[in-house]
């Protein structure tokens, strides 16, 4: 976080909060009704519903369950082979189904796949498509809200991770990360854990780079 000690009396009509701050459930965000995600309106005022980072009128949750959306690319585990397709665990409370018609490949129970969410219905049944089997590797489960940090701006973090560890890394929007390839998978896993714990801090890419460099020298 930037330590802006100066009490600059901001009179910008649009930017209420000059810097980001951690907010709690029930904490006041705006004195007026404002439709933003992870917030609710009560008595004409807007309050947070989650522990989150609030900056520039936007609230980003720091923790929370994966909320599946159509077109999300996810890493999934095949949990059941059925007559018409496959049941897939994609880190949600809701069942995800991959129809046999959607794929030419055949999967087995325990396979790890990379797929796109093609449909979510009104009772949150999920259908998958564009599935492909992932090569042998290991699964790292992280909180889905940290996924943007693992990918980084324009893929920067992910590219650095793959390059420095020599692994193929598949990051599912659902928080499942698959580390494959011949590289240093345990180093990649350590780095991903580090990103998960420090996801809300600044200058993370540099710190991860330093960590990878130091560990690589060993």
């Amino acid at each position: 976080m930037t330590e802006e000690k100066a009490h600059s009396p901001t009179h910008h009509s649009h930017s209420h909060q000059p810097e980001s701050r951690i907010v709690m459930p029930g904490e006041l965000l705006f004195d007026r009704p404002e439709r933003i995600s992870y917030a609710f309106i009560d008595g004409g005022k807007t309050y947070s519903t989650v522990v989150g980072l609030f900056s520039e009128g936007k609230l980003v949750p720091l923790e929370g369950p994966y909320e599946p959306l159509v077109d999300d690319l996810v890493v999934g585990l095949v949990t059941e082979v059925k007559f018409a397709g496959y049941s897939v665990d994609i880190n949600t409370a809701y069942p995800a189904f991959l129809s046999s018609r959607e794929t030419r490949e055949r999967f087995e129970m325990g396979d790890t796949i990379f797929a796109r969410i093609t449909m979510i219905d009104e009772v949150r049944s999920i259908e998958l498509g564009e599935a492909r089997k992932l090569p042998a590797g290991r699964l790292v489960k992280v909180s889905s809200v940290k996924v943007p940090r693992i990918i980084g701006k324009k893929n920067s973090m992910l590219e650095m991770l793959s390059k420095q560890t020599g692994c193929e890394i598949y990051v599912g929007r659902n928080g499942y990360v698959w580390i494959a390839g011949k590289g240093n998978a345990s180093l990649a896993e350590k780095a991903i854990r580090m990103i998960e714990v420090q996801a809300h801090t600044r200058g993370l890419t540099d710190r991860v780079a330093a960590f990878l460099k130091e560990e690589h020298g060993r």
């Binding site: 709690m24 459930p25 992870y38 609710f40 009560d42 929370g64 409370a93 809200v145 714990v197």
Partner: protein
Amino acid sequence: MSQAESNKPKLLVDGKRIDGRATDELRPIRIVARVLNDADGSAYVEWGKNKVLAGVYGPSECIPRHDQSLYRSVVRCRYNMAPFSGAEEHGRSGPSRRSRELSKVIKEAFENVIISENFPRTQIEIFVEVLQSDGGTRCAAITAASVALADAGIPMKDLITAVAVGKIDGQMAIDLGKEEDNFGESDMPLAFSLRTGELLLFQMDGLLTREELQKGIAMAKAAAQKVHKLQVEAIRKVYEEPREERFLPVKGALEK
């Protein structure tokens, strides 16, 4: 109450209580968030001699399916006292009449704040284990569960904060300990949503006059503000001092 009046210790001497507290003084409280590896959210609370561990799981698939709702997530709670948590009747293991009641009232308190419509067909489970008890465990349990729910990222309209208030030797006092609860005239656990001032838990043992009740609620609310601050601090600490390993702090680990 079969306790002979002669066994009753003096609960108030010169305005000081058995443990030296003033009537509006809380016991020392420490809260740590995120202590369990496999729970989605967790918290550990030491409240005087009470030690309480809370874990939250979910939203996950609701089983059995006939309990599912197409409109909201089902909130479940299990309050349990460890068989070693205290003397006497609390020493037995397994659910008792009392722990089932507390599970129910805790669940109902949280149903008021959890935005369960976001997760149809699922369940959210709250587990509270009392490791050591010394009066006021339900307030400690609610305080811990609230932090654990926030840690799990479950959307809520507010954190819930609970404080008990009671009457000892004819005076209103907050946060009764075990002796005060046993020998006092009245004990009233309260849980607040401080954002709105709503009461989400309101129980009472013994009797109070209308005036005493009103005074008690005001005293508890003032104390709840202090507990709320500690809850917020505990959640903040997860992010301000990030640590990779999660652990249950042993004695000394909680000291500042």
